[in-house]
């Protein structure tokens, strides 16, 4: 009898608070949303089960699918700009900051990180003012360097608005990859770098051959954070361009598309069921993206133990 192991209640007790809170505020609403997308409102204002017909509307109806693919395409571009601009600049800044010869590193670090803690509302408003063709300082500053002809009302042009907003978002969030990479660079032991110097690898080649391979897992984490953040983005576009994501839906991303559909806009009444359908599609896209990363990339990254 004494061989029977006791049930270890303490594990359940210690896990309970986190599990309960997470279930209540994340898992239940998530399944609520998935559930909502399978219903529709009848003309008599009752809920009726419609199976996957909302998804058929979203992907089959030319209007809905047009708006959806437009939003997804814009979202993909938004993500590409972040991957091509934000993350390389973040890594570059981190590499510069970790250089032992740099003076006032703490100041630069703080200054670059500060926009990250600003509210979207402030960032959107400030950049709208900076870029304003009427009151903004951007036309004046370009004029000073003789490039006034390059100025355009970027936020009002279909061709530039999304890229401009993506760059504003990059400006705001470049501090996050910088800090994560900076932390990763600091964990590289001095012995490794000294050994490299003994072998004659210094400067740039030291970064490419020694440091970068060692921080690749962090770069992977940053990529996936950027991916999830970008495909959930909403605030900056909403603040700068409104729920209609003008000009002509050229800045419409999945978040603003969801908002318009779910809550309605101006004379358009909200449609919670189609909204939930879009939310479910977003969830699926993010899930697929994260899975590709987890199973396709992360398992192949080499890790080094010191």
């Amino acid at each position: 009898m004494s061989g029977r192991r006791q049930i270890r209640w303490h594990i359940a007790v210690f896990l309970a608070p986190a599990v309960l809170v997470y279930t209540a505020i994340m898992i239940v609403p998530l399944f609520g949303t998935l559930n909502l997308s399978l219903f529709n409102q009848t003309p008599e204002r009752t809920k009726e089960f419609v199976g996957l017909s909302n998804f058929r509307t979203l992907f089959g109806d030319p209007r809905w699918s047009g708006a959806f693919w437009n939003a997804l395409g814009n979202n993909a571009w938004f993500f590409v700009v972040h991957m091509l601009v934000q993350n390389p600049i973040g890594i570059l800044l981190a590499a510069l900051l970790s250089s032992p010869r740099l003076r006032m590193a703490a100041f630069y670090r703080t200054a670059i990180f500060i926009p990250t803690i600003l509210s979207f509302v402030i960032v959107g408003f400030v950049w709208k003012l900076i870029l304003s063709p009427i009151w903004g300082i951007a036309p004046g500053m370009l004029d000073v360097v003789g490039l006034k002809s390059l100025f355009a009302p970027w936020l009002g042009k279909e061709d530039y608005a999304l890229t401009a907003l993506a760059l504003v978002s990059v400006w705001q969030f470049v501090g996050i990859p910088m800090m994560l990479i900076y932390a990763a660079l600091l964990t590289i032991p001095d012995e490794v770098l000294e050994a490299a110097e003994m072998d004659g690898i210094t400067g740039m080649s030291q970064f490419w051959k020694i440091k970068l391979p060692l921080i690749l897992p962090s770069v992977g984490i940053i990529s996936i954070l950027t991916f999830v953040g970008n495909f959930n983005a909403f605030d900056l576009i909403y603040v700068a361009q409104g729920a209609l994501a003008g000009p002509d839906f050229s800045t419409d991303i999945l978040g603003t598309f969801l908002y318009r559909t779910f809550f309605g806009f101006q004379l358009q009444l909200g449609d919670p069921h189609m909204g939930a359908t879009i939310a479910t599609a977003m969830f699926g896209i993010i899930l697929i993206g994260v899975c590709i990363y987890l199973f396709g990339i992360q398992t192949r990254l080499r890790r080094y133990q010191f």
Partner: protein
């Protein structure tokens, strides 16, 4: 000890008796007009309370953008006020159909309003009216009178004169001819398309024909306003594509622009901001002597919460809101929000007088997209914002924009199929 208990008991009973004697009923008004809070508190409510002892009124507004959502949840929870400020058309109709708003058809004050004034708060067949109309807003153009005098420009009455004036302002170069941007999109539709449009589709005639399915958005009279808008591009300020609504307001009130496509709700704000003399003119007609049409849009009304425990007193208040006395008070306190009452109202503000004088010489209509036509998906009003902005920017031709709107409307609206 006993004396003290006795004393407290006596005091309590006096207090209770006092409360019972007063029997005041407090009515709460739900509204999105938080800008008007002081006007209600200082002018309108005291006037009512003086005549109706025993009824107290509290004006409890919420933020405009949140109003619909806040009101719906309050009504569902049973915590909404007795009186509900009504948005025009479907938002309020939805509340009435759900049984949240009471039927006010039997109210005596309803006789004071014309059918057009009531149309925004009626069932589609016009059988039941559920809100007492309060005010409408009129569209037109506000101009900088000093600039016009300086450049020797007459107030334009026809399209030709309108564009001649714009050309003259542009050639002079001191002023931006017209202050409008397309960044926020709605000005292009509301102060553009629906401002000048009624002259082409002949106001109510065209609007009702569109609802009945007898006219299409691709008909010449519906494409013409877009053709006009397309010409505006050359007269807007540099970088108008990124110019927002507050930008346009500021450009005009700072005296940098000469003409502002307007709604009358701007009047009180402009009076406070602008340092120059202002005037207003209605949308120009195609040829001298044509009948003019104006958008006199029914915008705000007051309804009764069907679940209100004080329905009797609330109806007393609503009767008063429908009276000429309230109309005079309201229209003068808020120049630019014009009374819908059939009795003419004397207003002191010259700009407001100018706007309202158009009612006598022009035919009134409401915005074409508001009644019934914005009930489905895609939403015609929201599509019109986008189309009007595109046309002004020149990224979509008038014909293509009209084609797209018609296709969208026909996709769900049976009479247009």
């Amino acid at each position: 000890m006993t004396t003290r208990t006795l004393r407290i008991a006596l005091l309590t009973s006096t207090l209770l008796a006092g409360a019972a004697q007063a029997q005041d009923v407090t009515l709460t008004i739900e509204s999105w007009r938080n800008d008007d809070l002081t006007i209600w508190q200082d002018t309108i409510i005291p006037a009512f309370e003086a005549q109706n002892p025993g009824i107290k009124v509290v004006f409890a507004p919420s933020a405009p953008a949140e109003y619909n959502a806040v009101l719906n949840s309050k009504l569902d929870a049973g915590s909404a006020g007795d009186l509900i400020t009504c948005r025009p058309f479907d938002a309020s109709l939805e509340l009435y159909n759900k049984g949240k708003l009471a039927d006010l058809t039997p109210l005596a004050a309803m006789a004071n309003f014309s059918p057009v004034a009531k149309s925004a708060w009626q069932t589609d067949d016009g059988a039941a009216t559920f809100c007492v109309p309060m005010a409408s807003v009129i569209h037109g153009f506000i101009y900088n009178a000093d600039a016009f005098a300086q450049l020797g420009i007459e107030v334009p009455r026809t399209e030709a004169e309108f564009f001649a004036a714009l050309d003259k302002i542009k050639a002079d170069g001191t002023y931006i001819p017209m202050a409008m941007g397309t960044n926020d999109q709605w000005e292009a539709a509301t102060m553009g398309y629906n401002n000048i449009g009624p002259n082409y589709w002949k106001g109510e005639e065209g609007r009702l024909a569109l609802i009945k399915g007898e006219q299409k958005l691709t008909d010449p009279q519906w494409v013409a306003p877009f053709t006009q808008l397309a010409k505006w591009k050359d007269y807007l300020g540099d970088g108008f594509e990124a110019q927002t609504y507050p930008d346009s307001q500021n450009l005009f009130t700072l005296g940098r622009a000469a003409i502002y496509p307007a709604g009358s709700w701007e009047i009180s704000g402009f009076n406070a901001q602008a340092q120059f003399k202002m005037g207003a003119f209605p949308p120009p007609v195609a040829a001298e002597g044509d009948t003019c049409y104006i958008s006199d849009h029914t915008d705000i009304a007051l309804g009764l919460n069907a679940a209100s425990p004080n329905a009797e007193q609330a109806k007393v208040f609503l009767e008063w809101v429908g009276s000429p006395e309230f109309a005079t008070l309201y229209a003068n306190a808020l120049p630019g929000f014009f009374s819908l009452n059939s009795t003419p109202v004397e207003m002191a503000d010259p700009l407001a007088q100018e706007f309202v004088s158009w009612r006598d010489k022009c035919q009134s209509t409401i915005r074409s997209t508001y009644q019934i036509l914005s009930r489905g998906t895609p939403n015609l009003e929201n599509e019109t914002w986008n189309a009007s902005a595109n046309v002004i920017k020149g990224t979509e031709t008038p014909e293509a924009a009209a084609e797209r709107l018609q296709a969208g409307l026909a996709s769900w609206y049976a009479p247009q199929q």
